[in-house]
Amino acid sequence: MTTGPVIELRAATKRFRGATGGVHTAVRELTLSVQPGEFVAVVGPTGCGKSTTLSLVSGLEPPSSGIALVRGEPVLGIPDGIGYMFQNDAVQPWRSVLDNVAAGPRYRGLSKAKAREKARVWVDKVGLGKFAAYYPHQLSGGMRKRVALAATLVNEPEILLMDEPFSALDVQTRALMQDELLRLWSGTNAAVVFVTHDLDEAIALADKVIVMTASPATVKASFEVHLPRPRLVEEIRMTPEFQSVYREIWESLREEVDKTRERSVVAS
């Protein structure tokens, strides 16, 4: 076991070529590290480049400068043991729930029967046992999220990257999914990077909340969240500890949100 951080970004910068020929800097001089088993939430104003951070770690996009390390190795291609939950549910509409979850093990060379066996366990774990033979269009948004969650977790990732996975859900379903995520995550010792623009969600879930600046994103501040686990998100929200952490972080986040807001007013 390595004792160092499992994810490390050192002065990582990512620039994209814009549609009009200009260069857009999504992430600038970003430095952060995540320990094994740590749950880190990244919050920032909408559109500041939080998602780009995840694609640097996942190897889907190489950094323009700086370096991204996973388990101490530079990221070239997609590292092993990574799970990635996208903002839009990336379920394959032509596969049943069970086969969607079995896709990961199948890609990794398991036989169809073995993969389905493994998938069956996870379909049950996310509470979709009765719906294993359904196709995604027959499910609700929350259920599709569960499919995506099971499809990601079935590979038993050491690193779980989550890009506003629950932002499209209604409030009640979201709270349910957050609890579900905490329940499934506890005891896996997976490191989680959870990107969100919802500070409530970030504090309720994470050990550490990183506040990003307005675009181009870089780390503004980092806050430890010492709330006891196991947590129930709906209840923990009511505690005074939660409220005080919230106030502290919101002070920092608000400036960035305001900045983004002003810009959009100027632009429009």
Binding site: S58, L60, Y84, Q92, R95, S96, A103, G104, Y107, H137
Partner: protein, 287 residues
Amino acid sequence: MSAVSLPAEAIPARELTSAARAQRNRKLKIWSIRAALVVVWLGSWELAATYWIDPFFYSKPSQVWDKLVDWFTVGTSQGSIWTNIAATMEEAVAGFLLGALAGIVLGVLLGRSPLLSDICAPFIKAVNAVPRIVLASLFVIWFGLGMQSKIATAFILVFFAVFFNAFQGAREVDRNLINNARVLGASRLQVLTTIVLPSATSWILASLHSAFGFALIGAVVGEVVGAETGLGLLIARSQGNFDTPGIYAGMIVITVLALLAEAILTALEKRLLKWRPTAAHEQGAQI
């Protein structure tokens, strides 16, 4: 989500039967009006050709019917009608299969490779602009009067119909799905077979419907241009003999074949796309 179907018990039986009756009545109405339209059309044609216009040029339904009966009982000037049908179908099916296969393979390949598609774009546009049906004459010179020239004509028509759809389908694959599969551990080949092909399938299947029509057109036109057997030859001979009913009869036989093929393709499509939500127009009429 569109309409959620309730369990049948939850709906009063009376409402169900009245809904079923309404649907039956609607179907009956549609079919009777269709039948009436055909009767009016054929009847007015028959009357006009009997009392007014010259049946030598325009023929009339009864003559066409006699011709069809003659073909199927006695045989045609070119031998049994069934051998002619078999020949045309063989050409159409062969051209269809080869053209569809080539169209899918090249379409997906170019759809997934921006470099290749950029290189090939002007050539494909140019070839697509050629009136391809003219190639039938060329193919007769290249491949002779036998089956090959017809298969080639059907092939070229089918290929382009399928190619453009496969190309578009392969290009419009959701990036999210591809990224997701890659993170889940899919190789490039696996991404192609498990993500790109299935999501292009609906595009490709849509093109196959019209493509079989094109295959038949290709085969028949090839036969009209020059052949030893086939429905196109029958039509060409009928034309040479000023046998108008023969031309109509040939048309009808070809139409029936095309409809049969269409039914088979629809069944195939239903099977392959069973994962897709039923489109609004396929759902039952509203209660």
